[in-house]
């Protein structure tokens, strides 16, 4: 047994949440192929069950500590010190909730959207949920890597089988990009573990122990680069974003929502949980560069979104811009900025998810996503237009809605780190309002320019049921952010402290180092 301190809140709840979708997925396979409705209902039931269990998690969560809670720890491959360690803190709690919240929404939406190979679709959707949840709660780097890769395959098939005309190209590009980058991270993980052993530690992949590995600046630089590359592709940061528009445009609506809503967050989460606290010195050195890339991403994403004639592509590029804000907040490396970043991660999941759902709904009716094919939708489908308006406002960060809180906190935090970056990022905010509102105006306002649009059907009850929870969360998180922020605060503080404390320690060592007697440290 390892001499790790036991945190008392361990039980099987978290495992149950992680594995419930996969259990459902395999049960789904047992259904006969003709049972299309049965497959749909079963998928919905399992995803709702997972959501309910995650609510229990939230209720039982103690917001006053940064310790990992609901910790479970079992040996897996003892020879290599690989363990099944899962647990959540104030950061991962909300990402888990976001995942369990969005999945049933997507599944309910897909009732109408997915008509071929229904059973297989929901099988992959549920497998994907297990992969994402596992990646958010894994505290063992090996386990994290397994879940991280496990997500790829279902998403690959969701884009590849149910996607649009260029689905094969898009899904392959998605897979190769992500795989290549994560393989280099795998090597970095292996190096990190072997460095821990050389430092006299046990062979372990437990990130809580690996946080304390002492590495030379050069080692940190390389390892940070490998981790950052893997996560930056996933975020995606400019200039590694080129897979994203392809994947989004070709993916079925459900795939797009999950991709934008949750999977991209795994990139930013990876920075926050692994890349930044594991290699604080390298992170500090890379901060100006990363801030620069974040700002470029914000402005570039907004400018490209502005000129898109295709609604879905516009939303996809807006993700590049929004995720740039999240990166900006993370690399502010202070409590405010990081809190804003996490808040914005959830916001983006809700608002962009909702935007993809709305685009999917209108596409189902008109079989086109070209902005030019719409106009004056307010009259024929007012309910749709109203929801659309609210979500658009949330996306541009209108005060009173969730987007405002996140962006405000990020800019506040970033101001302490770099004023120039903040100034440029703020211009991205303006650009964001421009492209979103301009798009909205062209789609919803004005006269009905196309005959077909005049007779469109407004939101159906099932679609309302899909949208209401998302819209409700957008409003709640905009009006009353305190419970969210308060719950994540201790964990964010601890992470930020870990990043900055290590830096200071390293600086202190350099400052007060006695004259080096011989070249012991090497170059």
């Amino acid at each position: 047994m390892s001499g790790m301190e036991q945190v008392p809140t361990g039980n099987v709840l978290l495992s149950l949440i992680v594995w419930m979708p996969m259990i459902g997925a395999f049960l789904l396979l047992l259904l006969p192929r003709e049972q299309v409705d049965g497959a749909r209902r079963a998928a919905l039931v399992f995803s709702l069950l997972t959501f309910l269990l995650s609510l229990v998690l939230w209720i039982g969560f103690r917001p006053d500590t940064a310790e990992f809670q609901f910790l479970e720890q079992h040996p897996w491959v003892p020879e290599w010190g690989i363990q099944y360690v899962i647990g959540i803190d104030g950061v991962s709690l909300f990402l888990v909730l976001l995942t369990t919240f969005l999945t049933p929404v997507v599944i309910l939406f897909s009732f109408g959207d997915v008509q071929k190979r229904v059973k297989e679709y929901f099988f992959f959707m549920l497998m994907l949920e297990t992969g994402m949840l596992g990646a958010f709660v894994a505290l063992d780097l090996f386990l994290f890597y397994v879940f991280w890769e496990l997500m790829l395959v279902p998403m690959y098939f969701i884009i590849g089988i149910w996607g649009g005309p260029r689905r094969i190209y898009a899904s392959l590009k998605f897979l190769i990009y992500t795989l290549t980058a994560s393989l280099l991270m795998l090597l970095a993980i292996l190096y990190l573990v072997s460095a821990h052993v050389k430092n006299g530690g046990a062979t372990t992949f437990d990130v809580r122990l690996l946080y304390d590995v002492t590495l030379s600046p050069i080692e940190q630089g390389w390892l940070f680069a490998a981790f950052a590359l893997a996560f930056a592709v996933k975020v995606p940061m400019f200039p590694l974003h080129t897979w994203l528009p392809d994947a989004h445009v070709e993916a079925p609506t459900g795939g797009s929502v999950i991709l934008a809503g949750v999977m991209l967050k795994l990139g930013t989460y990876g920075f926050l949980r692994f890349a930044m606290p594991l290699f604080p010195n390298a992170m500090a050195a890379a901060t100006p560069f990363m801030l620069g890339l974040a700002v470029v991403g914000i402005i570039y994403g907004a400018l490209v979104a502005m000129v898109q004639p295709d609604l879905k592509k516009l939303v996809a590029y807006s993700s590049v811009s929004h995720l740039g804000f999240v990166m900006l907040g993370l690399f502010a490396v202070n409590v405010t900025g990081v809190q804003g970043a996490i808040y914005q991660m959830i916001n983006h999941g809700l608002s962009t998810g909702a935007l993809f759902l709305l685009v999917g709904m209108i596409y189902e009716r008109r079989h086109t996503r070209q902005i030019a094919d719409f106009g004056g939708l307010w009259k024929p489908i007012p309910k749709f237009a109203a929801v659309f308006l609210l979500v658009t406002f949330s996306s541009v960060g209108l005060p009173g809605l969730n987007g405002f809180i996140g962006e405000f906190l990020i800019l506040l935090g970033a101001f302490g780190q770099s004023r120039i970056a903040t100034v440029f990022a703020s211009s991205g905010l303006v650009l964001g309002a421009v492209y979103m509102l301009w798009m909205f105006q062209r789609v919803v306002f004005g006269p009905v320019r196309h005959e077909e649009n005049a007779t469109l059907e407004d939101l159906r009850p099932r679609e309302i049921a899909v949208l209401v929870p998302v819209v409700a969360m957008i409003v709640i998180m905009g009006v009353y952010p305190t419970p969210f922020l308060r719950t994540m605060e201790p964990s964010v503080k601890a992470l930020v402290e870990r990043m900055t404390k290590h830096q200071q320690r390293a600086v202190a060592v350099v400052d007060h180092a006695p004259p080096v007697p011989k070249h012991a440290g090497g170059v």
Binding site: W76, V77, P78, Y145, V146, R167, L179, L184
Partner: protein, 480 residues
């Protein structure tokens, strides 16, 4: 004159090779009288299984006999079990595959048994001459097997090509053995190890070692000695391809690892540089050329080259972890490659190989079992967790990193990414490309499907619970 002193022989050590040889003889003889191919197949299965049971009972022994030229240690047992398992799977596949090919079952199963006997000798040989004997017994059997489908031109071509290039490689092996004998005065690995002088090693010894690398490089299909592989693998009957890709390659590595990490360990600094280049080339060339293939069987041939490259990375690293990693990788490689070639065999029909990617279009929905298992094999070969191939790669790259071979490890993982490009294309064909929704006539292939399912289950099992299997590999290597 004194009579020739016969060394004391511990007959326990001969049990695995003896049983498989007897089985081969029995099958050859029975082939003359028994007309029913299935019965012969069952006999081969039972014989190989009994040998496997006997071999398991020998685990834990550490016998060196025949004057120190033949050993039965954990290492030999590990490889014997691997060969026997591969043999069992190949026989299972063949029991379906041979139907309608006109290949005489008695000869065929007999030769499979002889080939395995040769492999067992290779894994047990602690003397270069005994190693050579084993290699020849194996090779000659496989030359014949490659051409077993006499009515197929490509089968004939494969046998011819394999024979010519194999004979060439044998020449290198013998020359290398001679040079090493000249430099050290012995054929026995322990005596060679003791005779290796300090730096700098004599040029004759280095030349001999280089010759051995060429010869083993041929057998395991390492670049630049791989030229024969695609043609031979493609042309041979698919079941024989499975035997070659898995068991022959494993036997080559069994000898490679024992000779280099045990006998020639003292020269690691010298040969590791050479192998470094060979490993990097093998991974890269294998993977890049596989990208260009339209024929799945040929693609798997290139993939088998690439995987030899990953195992060579472990040889380059060369310490205990690396040796165990090589053994473990061979194990997982065997499971997934046998399975993948099983699927290729399942699609082929007499006269119609159905091996191109176009033939796989829509397969996943047409024959779900083949689709799902092939997906498992392809993802595992790519190295996606939690499948066996990932555990294998992880083990090898851990060893490489620990021993400081960072560049080689980076080349290795980048190659993994490249390999995704062609393994995924099989998935694209099976699931993303529209094809016929229902087969006109789904052939009955009970044995073949059983072999595929066994391989798939093991691929998942070893991936999720690698600990036990890693222990086997480590114990095997440590017993050297």
């Amino acid at each position: 004159m004194e009579a020739l002193a016969l060394p004391a022989i511990n007959w326990l050590a001969v049990i695995p090779v003896g049983l498989t040889s007897l089985l081969g003889l029995l099958l050859l003889a029975l082939g003359l009288f028994v007309d029913d191919d299935e019965t012969l197949g069952w006999l081969a299965l039972i014989g190989l299984s009994l040998t496997a049971v006997a071999t398991v009972l020998l685990a834990g022994q550490k016998i060196s006999t025949f004057n120190g030229t033949y050993a039965l240690d954990g290492y030999a047992v590990f490889f014997d079990m691997l060969f026997l398992f591969a043999g069992i799977i190949v026989v299972l596949m063949s029991m379906t595959y041979l139907e309608g090919t006109g290949i005489p079952a008695g000869d065929y199963y007999g030769l499979v048994s002889f080939a395995i006997a040769g492999m067992i000798v290779m894994a047990s040989a602690t003397d270069l001459i005994v190693l050579f004997l084993g290699l020849e017994v194996m090779s000659i059997s496989v030359y014949v097997l490659a051409g077993a489908w006499r009515t197929q031109r490509r089968s004939n071509e494969a046998a011819m090509k394999y024979f010519l290039l194999g004979a060439f490689a044998t020449g290198f092996l013998l020359y290398g053995i001679a040079l090493i004998y000249g430099a050290t005065g012995s054929f026995r690995l322990d005596q060679i190890a003791a005779a290796i002088p300090g730096n700098p090693a004599p040029k004759m010894l280095i030349a001999g070692v280089a010759m051995l690398i060429v010869a083993f490089g041929f057998k395991v299909a390492a670049v630049p000695f791989h030229m024969w592989t695609p043609d031979v693998y493609e042309g041979a009957p698919t079941t024989v391809t499975a035997l070659m890709a898995v068991a022959v390659k494993a036997a080559g590595f069994a000898a490679f690892v024992r000779v280099f990490l045990h006998g020639l360990a003292g020269l690691h600094a010298d040969w590791s540089m050479l192998l470094w280049v060979v490993a990097a080339l093998t991974m890269t060339v294998g993977n890049v050329l596989a990208l260009a293939q339209q024929n799945v069987k040929r693609m798997l041939a290139y993939s088998s080259i690439a995987h030899a490259g990953y195992i060579l990375v472990a040889l380059v690293a060369g310490d205990t972890t690396a040796g165990a990693a090589a053994l473990f990788y061979l194990l997982v490689y065997s499971f997934m490659t046998l399975g993948a070639l099983g699927v290729v065999a399942a699609l082929g029909e007499a006269g119609e190989p159905n091996e191109t990617l176009d033939d796989y279009a829509g397969l996943g929905f047409r024959r779900p079992l083949l689709g799902v298992t092939m997906t498992i094999f392809m993802l595992s070969l790519t190295g996606i967790p939690p499948l066996a191939g990932f555990a294998g790669k992880l083990y090898i790259f851990t060893a490489a990193i620990r021993d400081g071979y960072y560049v080689l490890a980076v080349i290795g993982v980048l190659n993994s990414a490249i390999s995704a490009g062609y393994y995924i294309r099989v998935l694209i064909a099976m699931y993303l490309t529209p094809g016929p929704e229902a087969e006109a006539r789904v052939p009955r292939q009970p044995y073949l499907l059983a072999s595929i399912v066994i391989s798939a289950v093991l691929t998942v099992l070893v991936g999720v619970f690698p600990a036990l299997w890693m222990q086997f590999a480590r114990m095997g290597f440590l017993s050297l």
